[in-house]
C-alpha cells in the first residue's frame, strides 16, 4: 500500500462505516424527513424549538420502553408484555400515592418492583420451559392487563398529587422531565450494553445460544435478566405515562409494545438477535416521533399516518437487513 492511500484510508472508512451501520438507512430517512418537513410545514413550524421538544416528549414513554425491549431483542427474544406492565405499574403507584398509603418514592418503588416481578416470571418461564418468548410474554400481557383492571377496579385513578404529576408534565431548565428520563435510560442502556460483561453476554446469547453456552455464558441467567430489565423499564415508563395523562388508567399502554418494537426494528435491532445498539434505538424512536409530528403539522389524517408509518418502518428494516447482508 502506498503512503498516500494509507493516509486516505481512515477518511474513506469513516464514511463507509457510517453507511455500513445497520441503521444508516434510518439516518438518511430521518435527514430527508427533517429537510422535507422544515420546507413544507407552514411558518417553519417543524423546526421551532418548542416543536422539536414536543416531538421528543411525545415519544418519551415509548422511548423508555424501547430501551428494555432492545435488551430482549438483542438477546434473541421479544417482550409483548411491556404495555400491560406499564398500565399495571401506573395504576399501582397512583393508587398507593393518592390513597396516601405511602409517599411518592416508595409507591414508585412498589410499581417498579411489580414490573420486575413480571419480568422475572417471563424470564423464568422462557429460560426453563422453552416456551417461545412470543407466547410467554403474550400470556403475561393478558394476565397483567387483567390485574391492572382488578387493582384499579376498572376505573381511572385521578387526583394525582402534584409531585407525581410533575414526572409527566414538569420540566427542568425548559426540558420536559419525560425527555430527561428517556435520555437517561438510553444512556444507561448504552453503558450496560457496551461496557459491561453482561452486555457482552446479551449479544452472545442472541448471536448463537449454543456457542454462548459452550463458551461459558450462563444463558438462562442472561435470559432472565433481559426480561427483568424490560419489566423494570416498562414499569417506570408506566408511571411517567400515568403522570403525563394526569390520571392512571387500567387500559393505559395498550399496543405500546408495537411502538417499542417498531422503534427498535427501525433502529436496526435484529429480530433474530445478536445485533443492535442504543444509538440506533434512539434514532428509531426519534424518527417515529418526527413522522407523527410532521404528519400532524401537515394535517394528514391519523388514519393515513398509520399507513405511512408502516411503510416507513418496512423500508427502514429492509435497508438495515440489506446492509447487514452486504457486510456478511
Amino acid at each position: 500500500m502506498t503512503q498516500e492511500s494509507a493516509r486516505k484510508k481512515p477518511g474513506k472508512n469513516l464514511i463507509q462505516r457510517l453507511f455500513s451501520l445497520s441503521y444508516s438507512g434510518l439516518i438518511i430517512i430521518t435527514l430527508v424527513l427533517v429537510i422535507l418537513l422544515s420546507v413544507v410545514t407552514p411558518n417553519n413550524a417543524f423546526l421551532q424549538p418548542n416543536n422539536l421538544l414536543n416531538v421528543l416528549r411525545q415519544v418519551s414513554v415509548y422511548g423508555i420502553m424501547a430501551v428494555g425491549m432492545a435488551f430482549v431483542m438483542i438477546s434473541g427474544g421479544i417482550d409483548l408484555s411491556v404495555g400491560s406492565v406499564a398500565g399495571f405499574s401506573g395504576c399501582v403507584t397512583s393508587l398507593l400515592v393518592t390513597n396516601e398509603v405511602m409517599s411518592l418514592m416508595p409507591s414508585m418503588l412498589v410499581g417498579v418492583v411489580s414490573g420486575l416481578l413480571s419480568g422475572v416470571i417471563c424470564g423464568l418461564i422462557i429460560a426453563y420451559t422453552g416456551i417461545p418468548p412470543f407466547i410467554t410474554t403474550l400470556s403475561v400481557q393478558i394476565s397483567v392487563r387483567g390485574l391492572a383492571y382488578i387493582v384499579a377496579n376498572g376505573k381511572p385513578i385521578g387526583n394525582l398529587p402534584k409531585n407525581l404529576l410533575n414526572l409527566g408534565v414538569g420540566s427542568v431548565f425548559g426540558v420536559p422531565i419525560p425527555i430527561i428520563f428517556m435520555v437517561l435510560f438510553l444512556l444507561m442502556g448504552a453503558l450496560i450494553l457496551n461496557r459491561t460483561t453482561f452486555g457482552r453476554t446479551v449479544y452472545a446469547v442472541g448471536g448463537n445460544r449454543t456457542a454462548a453456552h459452550l463458551a461459558g455464558v450462563n444463558v438462562k441467567k442472561v435470559t432472565i435478566l433481559v426480561y427483568t430489565i424490560s419489566g423494570v423499564v416498562s414499569a417506570f415508563a408506566g408511571i411517567v405515562l400515568a403522570a403525563r395523562n394526569v390520571s392512571a388508567q387500567p387500559n393505559a399502554g395498550v399496543a405500546f409494545e408495537t411502538e417499542a418494537i417498531a422503534g427498535c426494528a427501525m433502529g436496526g435491532v435484529a429480530f433474530d438477535g445478536g445485533s443492535g445498539s442504543m444509538s440506533g434505538v434512539a434514532l428509531g424512536i426519534i424518527l417515529m416521533g418526527i413522522i407523527n409530528n410532521g404528519m400532524n403539522l401537515l394535517g394528514i389524517s391519523s388514519y393515513w399516518q398509520l399507513v405511512v408509518k408502516g411503510l416507513i418502518m418496512v423500508t427502514a428494516v429492509i435497508y438495515s437487513m440489506r446492509n447487514s447482508k452486504r457486510n456478511a
Binding site: 460483561t197 453476554t201 449479544y203 452472545a204 456478511a328
Partner: protein, 484 residues
Amino acid sequence: MMSASRSSLKRGEILCICGENGAGKSTLIKILSGAETPSSGTIIYEGEEIRFQSPDHAHRMGISTVYQEMVQIPEMSIAENIYLGRYKKRFGLIDFNDAVVRTRELMKRIGLTLDPNTKIKDLSLAKRQLVEILKAISYESKIVIFDEPTSSLSEEETQILMDVIFKLKEAGVSIIYISHRLNEIFRISDRITVLRDGRVAGTVLSSESNIDEIIWLMVGRNLEQQFPKEYAELGETVLEVKNLSGGIVYDCSFSLRAGEVLGFGGLVGAGRSELMELIYGARRYDSGSITYHGRDLKKISPLKAIESKISLVPEDRRRQGLISILPIRQNISLSYLKELSRYGFMKLKKESRATEDIFDKLHIRAPSVRTLVNKLSGGNQQKVVLARSLITSPDILILDEPTRGIDVGTKVEIYEMINQLAASGVAIILISSDLPELLAMSDRIVVMKEGTITGELTGADMNETTFMKLATLGEEVHDSRISS
C-alpha cells in the same frame, strides 16, 4: 475473489480441485453452478460459451452440485426431496408414486438399496449425501460437482461414496471433486488442479504426482512434514475418568497426564463428542466419576469447567463455536470476561490488548480484531475458536475435530500449536476422524465404539489396522454389555 484461472474437464473424467481456504474453490463452484456470475472470463461448455444465469439454469444445462451443507427438507421422504417441484401430476394432483418409482430406478443405476419413502431426517449424513447425488443424476447431469463431500463422513461411508462416484464416471459423467483430504484425492482423481490465491497454481495428472507436490503447489513452499509431531515430557495425571455414563456414553474410563496428547478415535457417532460434553459439563452425566487434579468434579457446567481451566473447542465451529455476527474480539473474549473486567465493567483496553495478542500469536488473517467473524475463511474461523480457549490458559484442552474442513497450511499451524501447548504442560484431548492425523499427532489413542471405550493404542499398536479393528469390531470388549 478469483482471477485469471484456466482449467478444463473432459467427459467421464474426475477432476479434483484443492487449495487452501480462501484459495477460491468456493467461488469457482458458485460460478460453475450459476450461484454467482463471473466478472470476466468465459465458461466453454460442450464447445459453446455459456453464462449461467441461476442455479436452476445450470441444472437444466446438466451441471449439478452436491454442496457441503445440504439443502434438504428433513421432514420429507427421499423421493419427495429428489423430485421436489418437479412432480409428475395426475388430474392436477401430485403423483407421489411416480416419484417413488423413478427414485428406485435412479438407485438401481448406482447400486443403492434404500426405501424411497424414508424421511431424510432418519438418514445418516452419508446417506443424505447419496440422496443429493441421486438428485443430480435425476437431472441427467453431465457434470456433477462435489464440494468437500467427505468432510463429515467416516472411512466406511467415504468408500461407499467413492464407489458411487466411480459408477457415475463409468456412465460418462464428468466429476469435479473438491476436497481437503489429499489421500482421498489421489484415490479417485484422474487429474488434480490446485488453486492458490484465486489462481490455478498448477494442474497435474494424479498418476504422475504425489502428495508432496500437491502441498507444494497449495502453499507455495515445502512443508517439512505433514504432521510435525513432537513428544513432550509427560507430567502427573490431571484427569481421571471412571465408569462415566450418560446419554449414549456408557461406562467410559480413561486418564490423562499433563503434557500428553490423548487421541480419541472411532467412527462418526461413536460417542466421542458426547463423552467430552459430559466432562465439560455441557451435559450432565448419570453415573461414574471425574477426578481433576485430585478432586471430584460434580455438577459441572461449561462455565465451571472454564473456571477450573478445562476448555473445549467444539466439533461444529459454526453451530457450537462462533457467534458469527459479532467481531473477532467479542468472540475471543467471551470465555474470559471475568478477568477482563472489574465490578462487571469491561476493561476495554485490557480486552483489546489481550485479544490482539492472541490474534497475532495465532496469525489470524483478518484486517483487525474488529472484523466480523462471518467474513473469515474456515481456517481463520477455527483459529478464533481456538483463541477463545487459549486466552483462558487451560490445563486441559479438548479439541474436537480441530482441523476439519481447513487447509493444509492452517492444519500444520494447529499441529504446531498442539506441540507447543503440550510442551508447556497442557493436557490435550484430540478427537479426530482424520486417521493419519490422529495416529501421527497423539501420544496414545483411546478408541470408542457405540458409546463405550473399546481399547487403547500405544506405541507399535498405533496403526490403522489395529485401530480399525477396535473401531469397528471392538475386539477387546466381549460384548454382552454393548449388545444389551
